[in-house]
Symmetry: D2
Subunit: 86 residues, 4 copies
């Protein structure tokens, strides 16, 4: 393994190649995700709301409901919706 | 100040309005920045590189040079440029 | 105005200084926004939900309600909530 | 396949599950990339500069060199470095 100014060239190359390969794989999966959203859209689904649903599914249901309750309280306090308790 | 489900509505409104006003100001400045870049582009400057320069100017010159040196060592080790010490 | 390799140095400096001054102003406002959120938190408000409210206020109320309806349909279809029509 | 308010529940579930599975795979790869950077750091490499190198490798070498030349012209014009032509 040759050194360039104290840099272990072979080791550096190996790290760079591993990262680049992984980044390619990651990009391929990101493209697949985009394709599935596109397919869902083609079937009449709203992709923006689909994203929101997928994000909400990651939360604990009890926590999600609590946050929804606080959101509704705030919105009611600001006159954005009718009071949720009425 | 009326309460809505335990939420101090007046206080909440005040916070929301302060944040919205500040966000508007921030957006106006962001638009100004975009305009200056546009003007620079109209005068023949490369805006991408202008951004890079402005980012580099935030760094301490000694640190910036050290990082540039390491970058060149890595690039030489990977055969992207000739060895900087040659 | 001196030229450096075809670059109008004075003009470049003027652009850079204008952008840097604007970026400082923008950062100061971003810090102010952070402070207001901190103050709201200190008064018992949930800053994450406050952010969500501010984002929702930017939308047209009719559009916001339509999206909420679709969201609930999707969540019901996925068994995340009871059917909204029941 | 049951319908909920006009939503094809089975089809929606299938899309959601496909997306969630792909997102998991993507996250696993992102974690792998983080691990490789951590390993590189443990071997004495500067991960920030490693990231920069990997980003630069994606560019066409001729374009990269041209941009580097413009960057140096700008920096010289701003007195950040000595004139590259001296």
């Amino acid at each position: 393994m040759s050194d360039t100014g104290g840099v272990a060239a072979g080791q550096l190359k190996a790290f760079v190649e591993r990262i680049e390969r992984l980044e390619e794989e990651k990009k391929a999966i990101a493209d697949d995700i985009k394709d599935v959203y596109g397919e869902a859209k083609g079937n009449g689904f709203d992709t923006k709301i689909l994203k929101q649903v997928i994000s909400l599914r990651k939360k604990d249901p009890a926590e999600r409901e609590e946050q929804e309750t606080i959101l509704e309280l705030y919105m009611a306090a600001l006159g954005m919706i009718g009071s949720p308790t009425e």
